[in-house]
Amino acid sequence: MGYWAVPMLSKFKGRSKTPAVARSAGASLRVLGLTWLILAVWPLLAPNDYLVSLGGTFFINLLLVLSLNLLVGYAGQVSLAHAGFFGLGAYTSGVLSASLGWSPWAGLAAAPVLCALVALFVGIPTLRLRGHYLAMATLGLNAILSVLFVGLVGITGGPNGLIGVPSFTLAGWDLGVPAAFFFLAWTVAGLAMLGLRNLVQARAGRGLRALAASDIAAACMGVPVLRYKLTVFALSAALAGVAGSLYVHQNNYASPETFSFFNSVLLLVMAAIGGLGRYWGGFLGALLFTALPELMRSIHDAELLVFGVAMIVVVGYLPAGLAGLLDNRIKRRGGQP
């Protein structure tokens, strides 16, 4: 066996200096930095405030799809409550600032903490079990959260929504202006992308990938399966909470139907179409999620049909999603002289 292993090893070494995981993740710091610099031009190019604020919305969607991609793609667990966590973050931050007069920044800190705690509460009993019990539990969780958002009229404003939420301010600067909010969201989303890059390239990231492939094998290699699953779920929920806080201070308003179970399903669809377990999957999924409704405004009703069919095709036939297609394309081009 050693006889065969030596030439194969040397061949592998000759190809690349970076470890295989880093390459397959496509998480190059240069590409990320360049992309974020290009994105920073958007407020200058966009012809009106609406498109500038759509840019801010894109970064919020990015946080949502990215956090779901982290959970489903890297840890192999499905959450059907991500819109619920998004809402929990939005209402937490919104109620704290609108009703209790806290600074929006305190809300931005409180929202992810509460989301992570709720995630642990649901995750501790269900992530112990092998199988898709987390999916089932989060399905219930989102429904319960939706009922609470509508039902707790005294706190959330009920079906009419939560109104009068202040915008972020920084040293007397109003970050509610679309261009200013754009850069706040740009920063937060950039940090999240950077964090994801560091995570997937670290020892923990490799542990996660192993866990997604087979938790038995991962446990045999010394990966603390339950602790990793719980941590990723809590982290993922916390990111959705951050997105919620940004959302509510961007729109100064929150309404229960934004956080429905069906939107959790749509987020899952976006994560799958973008590319589960691919570094750029969340980015591409969020891009589609933000742009498609705008592009299909005239045939709005057909949008769902497109999403549904795309989900079937991508999950069944292109499991690496759009990011996978892009990867192959770049590789093919890179292979030619």
Binding site: L129, M136, A143, I144, V269, L304, A310
Partner: protein, 291 residues
């Protein structure tokens, strides 16, 4: 305790519970044959109601319900033929995600062809009401209970005592061994999709006179029924009946005695509780593996 309000709530709860039980059987059948959670189950319920609403202008209600059920059964079979069959060797998680796409696509196709307005039609005996021990009960509730009981008996006989039912169980329990004695796994999956759609479609056709139905009401009904399936024990036929009836009564009595505002959360609270306390459900065998 046996006052009129209690009886009224109990019967209404059993009626709703019967609907949940029928839909839950659909979840169970597909879970058994593929290991996947079928997100399209609730959409089939919605189709049952809306198809019957279309047919009811041409024929009596009972015929419309039967025709709608048959049409939804065909939809279930087609869903397998077009979407699931080419992918049937994939992992259950993949099939679950594919069924999410199937559900969204089905829902939007119904919305595009039949419109967004809620539909309704009279019950099998019109809008007649009965008085039972001082409580007013819709005739349709009694119809639902009767249909549930008959359907469950038929299902029991089918799976326990007929050649096809036994073959289907064999194919679900051990596809390779079943294939060796000539039972096609492919055929079994097709049959399970058609059967699950039949239960969903029939449930939708008989609940619509009570609640109205629109293109987006499928998911809620479907997932409440899923909670019922989990409560009874996922994959267990009798568990579906027990879980459905329990959940229906619980939900209706909480809605009647405590709060209507949070009624829709009851089923999902039950789901979270059962997952925490007894993930294999009331009647399920504890073969849930801990990590």
């Amino acid at each position: 305790m046996l006052d009129a309000q209690f009886i009224q709530l109990l019967l209404a709860g059993l009626g709703t519970g019967g609907i949940y039980a029928m839909i839950a059987v659909g979840f169970n059948i597909i879970f058994k044959s593929t290991g996947a959670l079928n997100f399209a189950q609730g959409e089939w319920v919605m189709m049952g109601g809306l198809f019957a609403a279309v047919a009811v202008s041409e024929m009596p209600v009972w015929q419309a319900c039967l025709l709608a059920t048959a049409a939804v059964t065909l939809v279930g079979w087609l869903s397998d033929r077009i979407v699931i069959r080419p992918l049937r060797n994939h992992a259950p998680l993949t099939l679950t995600l594919v069924s999410v796409g199937l559900a969204i696509a089905s829902k939007s196709l119904v919305m595009l062809t039949l419109g967004k307005n809620p539909q309704g039609y009279p019950g099998l005996s019109g809008a007649r009401k009965f008085e039972v021990l001082g409580a007013h009960v819709d005739a349709q509730t009694l119809w639902i209970l009767a249909i549930t009981v008959v359907l469950m008996l038929l299902t029991h006989v089918f799976f326990a005592h007929t050649r096809y039912g036994t073959a289907l169980r064999a194919a679900c329990a051990n596809p390779e061994a079943a294939a060796l004695v000539g039972i096609s796994h492919r055929g079994a999956i097709a049959a399970s999709f058609a059967l699950a759609a039949l239960y969903g479609g029939l449930a939708g056709a008989i609940i619509t006179p009570m609640t109205l139905m629109s293109y987006d009401s499928g998911a809620m009904l479907g997932f409440k029924a899923f909670s019922a399936a989990m409560l009874g024990g996922l994959g267990n036929l009798y568990g579906a009946l027990l879980g459905g009836l329990l959940l229906g009564v619980l939900e209706t009595s909480i809605g009647g005695y405590l709060t209507t505002q949070f009624k829709d959360g009851v089923a999902f609270l039950v789901l979270l509780l059962i997952l925490t306390v007894r993930p294999h459900g009331i009647l399920g065998r504890p073969d849930v593996v801990k990590v």
